[in-house]
Amino acid sequence: MMKKYQELLLQVRDLEVTFGTRRKPFVAVKDVSFEIYRGETFGLVGESGSGKTTIGRAIIRINPTSAGRILFKGERINGVIPRELDRRVTQQVQMIFQDPMASLNERAKVDYIVSEGLMNVHKHLGREEREARVSKALSDVGLLPEFAGRFPHEFSGGQRQRIGIARSLIMEPEFIIADEPISALDVSIRAQVLNLLSSLQKQRGLTYLFIAHDLSVMRFITDRIAVIRKGVIVEMAETETLFSHPLHPYTRALLSAIPMPDPISEKQKVLEVYDPSRHDYSVYKPRWEQVEEGHFVMANDRELAEYRERLK
């Protein structure tokens, strides 16, 4: 897998995001580092409140960062950057939001919703050209071009999410951050949206950062996964590695929570509950360490020895 994707697209180095006032700061994301290669799908998994969305929003420059660096194609894109670079980032990095009911402007027609980004970047685009691009974007996501004249409330949940995808595609991005794009949808519609995302990736060589709380979906769509808890990444590995031998107890808890469509094994299942107090970090501090190729975990020396033993 590693050989397949070699060109570094996005690098996040020691990222920290802080909210609140200076007197009472709240550190939402702490010392987060990862890389995303061109063409791959990188998954970020965690519970609500773990900071996974915050990371996505920091990359797309919605949330200001308080420390660390985010490099896109080798250029720093967090903090103060030149206007010209900002424009380029806006066009090349796009986001798909979680709830298609809430993220589309109820009072605007689909035509406007989809082309809004385009009008910001290409100010001198003619009307015809714009309309042509909107209908192309709509048909790319499997909607009819006629839908451009309708309002969001006329669509079902799955169709709305397609509109959300169309409006990021129209910018011709290279990198898309998909923030729980399917958690608000029915299971049968989930499959459609997931298939759409993977076929778009194949056609256009897109790179995804896929944010979700549900590991079962991740196994299907991602190449590598990072598990995040309370703003700290605790484990990162290639998807199959993570599923076949998870090391960190939190990852194991997440995996055991996946509901399987198999009644006999489900009824015997013992749920692993993660208890953070099981780590004794009073003497030996945990650090970010590679235990096998491409498999990183946050642990202290004693735990690392234990994990390595388990991998043998």
């Binding site: 499959a191 997440l254 299942k269």
Partner: protein, 351 residues
């Protein structure tokens, strides 16, 4: 094993009037609910699963009515109830409901304690310290730590999972016989989801509850349901025990629902998805409602509505495929392997 029927639905038809047109939301449903069991009702949004259960507690929207049929509970026909006074004997006390979204089903202006006591005041006439004592008891029951302190807090001070526990506490306040959980975990994280399902399961054992789970996700019900009813377009298309529905599903719609689970997907291949959209219930439905979306539909599916065919005494499905004259159509390959999934998982665990 002879089982006692606690609630039975007979040929129920429910209609709604919407902008001058009539929508046929529940089409001839018959269903028996056995005492102490947990039944899962599974279907896409709009299939009528919530509408069906709302009939049991008289919470149907104002523009809807029971057109024909009966709902029998404790010797009464709930479908004939008209006044709030009649419903007050059932709602909460006998049958209670847990709503989907804990963010919207609690009153943000009242403390948790007050909201639990509200049910106790209404139904059991408890007040003052007796009510408080019982409320704290219930909070402990649903696994909320420090119930004495939590009792005085407001909903915004609770996390999503804790809020859902509070909603369950309110539903449990009057010791109902039947607990209806309408998508109890859809708004929650996977880890919390597993905990809430465990909680409902424990409560069920402790109080010998009968539970109905409503969900769109077949994956969730494998560990909690005894029986599963699959709904499509206002009709139950297949009903059977949990093992029967997962290991030998009969209706093409059940196949489709199982196939679209990402847990069963193979990386790099296209995930199965159901084509088309559910039928418009404003129109009269001819034949099998799922036929237009079923690539393997038979000609008869478009003409005549299939009756129930019995597969086993506990398992029946409404599909012409079970007719002796039907051609043999095999379920999709990868859902046949559900049983093997378990073995794979075991290997994973051993590693």
């Amino acid at each position: 094993m002879e089982q006692e029927v606690i609630l039975s639905v007979k040929d129920l038809n429910v209609k709604f009037s919407l902008r001058g047109r009539v929508l046929h939301a529940i089409r001839d449903i018959s269903l028996e609910l056995f005492k102490g069991e947990s039944l899962a009702i599974v279907g896409e949004s709009g299939s009528g699963k919530t509408v069906l259960t709302k009939n049991f507690i008289g919470l149907l929207d104002k523009n809807g009515w029971v057109d024909s049929g009966e709902i029998l509970y404790g010797g009464m026909n709930l479908a004939g109830f008209t006044t709030e006074k009649e419903w007050a004997q059932i709602r909460g006390k006998e049958i209670a409901m847990v709503m989907q979204d804990p963010m919207t089903s609690l009153n943000p202006l009242k403390t948790i304690g007050w909201q639990i006591e509200e049910a106790l005041r209404q139904h059991q006439g408890l007040a003052g310290s007796a009510a408080k004592k019982r409320a704290v008891e219930i909070l402990t029951d649903v696994g909320i730590p420090e119930p004495e302190r939590r009792y005085k807090q407001y909903p915004h001070e609770f996390s999503g999972g804790m809020r859902q526990r509070v909603v369950i506490a309110i539903a449990m306040a009057c010791n109902p016989k039947i607990l209806i959980c309408d998508e109890p975990t859809t708004a929650l994280d996977v880890t919390i989801q597993a905990q809430i399902l465990d909680l409902i399961h424990d409560l069920q054992k402790k109080y010998r509850l009968t539970t109905i789970y409503i969900t769109h996700d077949l994956g969730v019900v494998a560990n909690v349901a005894d029986r599963i009813a699959v709904m499509y377009a206002g009709d139950i298309v297949e009903v059977g025990t949990c093992n029967e529905v997962f290991y030998s599903p009969q209706h093409p719609y059940t196949w489709a629902l199982l196939s679209s689970l990402p847990q069963l997907g193979v990386k790099g291949e296209e995930l199965y998805s159901i084509k088309g959209t559910p039928p418009n219930l404003f129109n009269r439905i001819r034949g099998d409602a799922f036929a237009p979306r079923n690539p393997q539909a038979l000609r008869v599916d478009f003409l005549h509505r299939p009756p129930y065919f019995e597969v086993s005494p506990t398992h029946k499905a409404r599909t012409w495929l079970l007719d002796p004259r039907a051609p043999k159509v095999e379920p999709p390959e990868h859902i046949k392997n559900i049983r093997n999934l378990r073995d794979e998982k075991k290997e994973d665990a051993q590693r």
